[in-house]
């Protein structure tokens, strides 16, 4: 491991620094709070020569993703970032990236969706993209954002599926935290250059995605589904190799804290997952055997790892920062219950929706909520 540099920086800048280290080729971007700082930092790096890439200031997020998808088809390593309504605006093009098997990496800085207008974080935006065929990570710290983006490029290019790296707006994107930057040499060892197996090339003309009859169309979708599931071992490998080279670890598909003997398990993703460690400590001090299971990989849902990690007879308290409209409670609870069914009948699942529209989730509040859920 070569000497690393330690600085204080925001989550958004951590993302930009990771993209720079990944030696990206093309970055289309459009401003939207709270991801704008990522685009600004990358534009500055390109203009001052720190990053040898092209920044395309497009006129809307739909165009951001359209430019990213086409640039990826041309053989370039691409990145873009967005939030909330911007993510929703590019929705149809997300499907083009996944169905077209193009390894685009995108940061989504979570923010609640309009209407009503809000700037602050909840997870409805990324949850609304569940069925686009994108792999999704959720990060709980600035350092994890940096680490995950590099792992995301690697996984995306190995399996040819686009990857979304999510983290909460303001809580992570705008807060200063210590950040260890591995040397460029170490990063180059972890992430070699992009070697596309197919690209748009006049020497070998071929057309991408003509109209396709049903018997030909269906196998493409089945392959996409199968390959999304097959990405789980690649996610683990990427996390392990990153740890071997840089010494840093945020969990692979899941991240756990004081879980081995836990009777009450807090289950949440993203920045809540970091704060919940402190809630677990509070509960332990109160005599409750609490633990944390934070899925770091949200899609594909790491079912096997969750099933084997949960202690016998545990009560799982799922804290959702989203609504699962049409069902009571949130989306994580529904997904957890579906994977536990018939596999871990000893587990109880309880669920609360919280933190919507950026309501502050303090460690005391979440500990109190978990206590209240225990009494339900």
């Amino acid at each position: 491991m070569k000497t690393a540099q330690v600085i204080m920086d925001t989550g958004a800048h951590a993302a930009a620094l990771a993209v720079k280290s990944a030696r990206v080729d093309v970055v289309p971007g459009y401003p939207i709070t709270p991801q704008t700082s990522i685009m600004e930092a990358l534009a500055a790096m390109v203009e001052n020569g720190e990053l040898h890439a092209r920044f395309i200031p497009v006129e809307g997020e739909h165009s951001s993703m359209a430019a990213a998808v086409a640039a990826s088809a041309a053989g370039a390593r691409v990145f873009t970032a967005t939030s909330a309504n911007g993510l929703l605006y590019m929705h149809e093009v997300l499907h083009m990236a996944s169905g077209g098997r193009l390894p685009v990496v995108m940061c989504n800085v979570n923010r609640g969706i309009f209407a009503p207008w809000t700037l602050w974080a909840d997870h409805q935006d990324s949850m609304a993209q569940r069925d686009t065929g994108w792999i999704q990570y959720h990060c709980s710290s600035n350092q994890e954002v940096f680490n995950t983006i590099l792992q995301a490029f690697r996984v995306a290019e190995q399996i040819n599926i686009p990857v979304m790296v999510n983290f909460d707006g303001f809580a992570i994107s705008h807060c200063l935290m210590p950040l260890t930057l591995p040397s460029q040499e170490d990063i180059d060892r972890f992430l070699p250059p992009y070697e596309p197996e197919w690209r748009l090339d006049p020497a070998h003309p071929s057309s991408f995605s003509n109209v396709t009859n049903a018997p030909e169309y269906a196998p493409f979708r089945q392959m996409l589904s199968d390959d999304i599931m097959a990405s789980i071992p690649l996610v683990k490998q990427a996390a392990q190799e990153y740890k071997d080279i840089t010494g840093m670890w945020d969990g692979d598909t899941i991240d756990t804290y004081r879980l081995e003997d836990a009777e009450v398990v807090a289950f949440a993703i993203n920045s809540m997952g970091a704060e919940l460690r402190l809630s677990v400590d509070i509960l332990r001090q109160q005599g409750i055997k609490a633990g944390l299971l934070r899925p770091r990989l949200y899609l594909p849902f790491p079912a096997e790892d969750i099933i084997s990690a949960l202690p016998q007879n545990a009560q799982v308290m799922v804290l959702d920062r989203n609504y699962n409209f049409g069902h009571p409670g949130g989306i994580l609870a529904a997904e957890l219950k579906s994977v536990l069914f018939g596999r871990r009948n000893d587990i109880t699942v309880k669920n609360r929706v919280m933190g919507i529209g950026g309501i502050d989730l303090t460690r005391q509040f979440m500990a109190a909520e978990i206590r209240a859920m225990m009494d339900e």
Binding site: G100, R101, Q158, I159, L191, P192, E197, S206, F208, D227
Partner: protein, 85 residues
Amino acid sequence: MKSVTKAYRPISWPMKGAGGNTGSWRTHRPVVDTQICNKCQICWVYCPEAVIDRQEITIDYRYCKGCGVCAVECPTGAISMEMEE
């Protein structure tokens, strides 16, 4: 990073007859009277199907859709549209 799987992408390759056996679409076929033809190549330039040989002014009837543009544009009237049997 290199791919570890063969990603099954929706790709198509250039070929004649991408629309199938398009010669079967026509109701009339163009016939060239080589006596009248002055090899001006106007029929060649307008044919949307590129089925007319520009030197010989012969027609590839496998793909000719019988649109009749060549017959209308021919300045000497050398091309006539004859009904297919």
